[in-house]
């Protein structure tokens, strides 16, 4: 049962990710990436990380992708035109590099030997919260500073000069 859910979610994730990076229209790109993020949220739920699943939808689908959509509409970004001169070398090199990156990631991740068997964990909000304000308190505070800096930085960048 769970395996079926996983396969469906994985297939949808990969297909919509492909659409997201290959379609010409920016709005379609953004929307299919939202679908991918949903499938990743399903994967989190399958992994027992229910808090992360909710946070994934709240942060990625609910905030980040809306921001993308907002900018796409604000700039009224046109669909990407095919380049006047075909650039086969760049294309092949890019694809090869992407394939190598993926294969390398897969190889490295699978090469790490871990004890077989899956330990059940419960990724609930209470346990995560205890870790966040316990051992990771410093990183947590740093993140808040980073977010503040990003906020101010974004404001300064788009501020029109009078």
């Amino acid at each position: 049962m769970e395996l079926v859910v996983f396969y469906v979610a994985a297939a949808v994730a990969v297909v919509s990710a492909l659409v997201a990076v290959s379609h010409r229209s920016p709005v379609v790109n953004v929307l299919s990436l939202v679908v991918t993020f949903f499938c990743v949220a399903v994967n989190y739920a399958l992994l027992g990380a229910s808090f992360l699943a909710a946070a994934q939808i709240l942060v990625y689908a609910g905030a980040i992708m809306v921001l993308f959509l907002f900018v796409v509409m604000l700039l009224n970004a046109p669909s990407e035109q095919p380049t006047p001169e075909p650039r086969p070398v760049q294309r092949v090199a890019g694809l090869a590099l992407a394939a190598i990156t993926g294969a390398g990631a897969l190889f490295l991740l699978l090469a790490v030997r871990v004890t077989p068997g899956v330990a059940p964990i419960d990724g609930n909000a209470v346990a995560l919260g205890r870790l966040l304000v316990g051992p990771y308190l410093f990183a947590f505070e740093l993140i808040s500073v980073l977010l503040l800096a990003a906020l101010v930085g974004a404001l300064v960048l788009v501020k029109r000069k009078h």
């Binding site: 939808i57 609910g62 959509l69 509409m73």
Partner: protein, 345 residues
Amino acid sequence: MWAELAVTTAKVVVVALAMVTTVPIMVWVERRGAAFIQDRLGPNRVGPLGLFQPVIDVVKLIFKEDVTPAAANKGLYYLAPLISLGVAMVTFIVIPFGAGHDVSLFGVPLRGLIVAPDLNVGVLYLLAIGSLSVYGIVLAGWSSNNKYSLLGGLRSSAQLISYELAMTLAVLGVLMATGSLHLSDVVARQSGAVWHWNAVTQVIGFAVFLVAAFAETNRLPFDLAEAETELVAGYHVEYSSMKFACFFMAEYLNMATASALTVTLFFGGGTLPGVTLTGWLGLFVSTAVFVAKMCFFLWLFVWVRWSLPRFRYDQLMQLGWKGLLPLATLNLVWVGIAMTMGWLR
């Protein structure tokens, strides 16, 4: 297994039907309420007191011509109303509508009139799904290929994102006091007496939440996404027939969800102060109490809509970022202090 499935199905059917039924009733209440506030009569021809007016309206909407603009982005144009309605239809599964922890159906404990009692992210689920409603509006605005629609869509996405922050912070105060994401725990903590209600212990948080809820449901005084007088009708100008009806239903469903959430978070849900509710009787009484409280807030939505003028866009943003956000933070500070000092039980 099968009995559990049956119980869940029964709960889904009961709750979903109840939520959908509020739509025509609210349409009637809104029209009659508007008439009452404006000293008119309102619809009174179809049925007693015009009660069957919504039925006639639905028939009219179904038979209207369904126009699709030639320059619209077809796929997204059809998808947008479905997103709006779909999001509105799935949010309420974590809201506990009534007690009933000690009764069982088909030999399976009912665990309260709540569709998904095991979903351990409760409120977070509601906020996450609720944050998706912006897609319906933005896509409708963009895909119609109409400048008024686009302006409405852009306005509303900025508005929804801004007010979501204040709303989430206000909810955070309640969650902090409760120490659980389950809405049934939130309700349980508020039982006993009126001064246990979060509306009393967190007045500021409640005020912020209520204002943000009005903004999140795109209701006057915050309906800048529609704003008939300047944007014609905003994001749904180009929609007609049942596609328009989807947006219309979604708005009323969102109102019902927002009211139910307000009752759950701040007004003790289905609990009646000083009364212990048990068994089937308790289930029915608490559901009735919940619905009664909910009706008040639904009426409040209508009342405010026909009493207050619309905000200007810059005023809206100022209120959201400079007014509500600091107030919500203040509420969090208050909850923290009150909990440390042991003023909240």
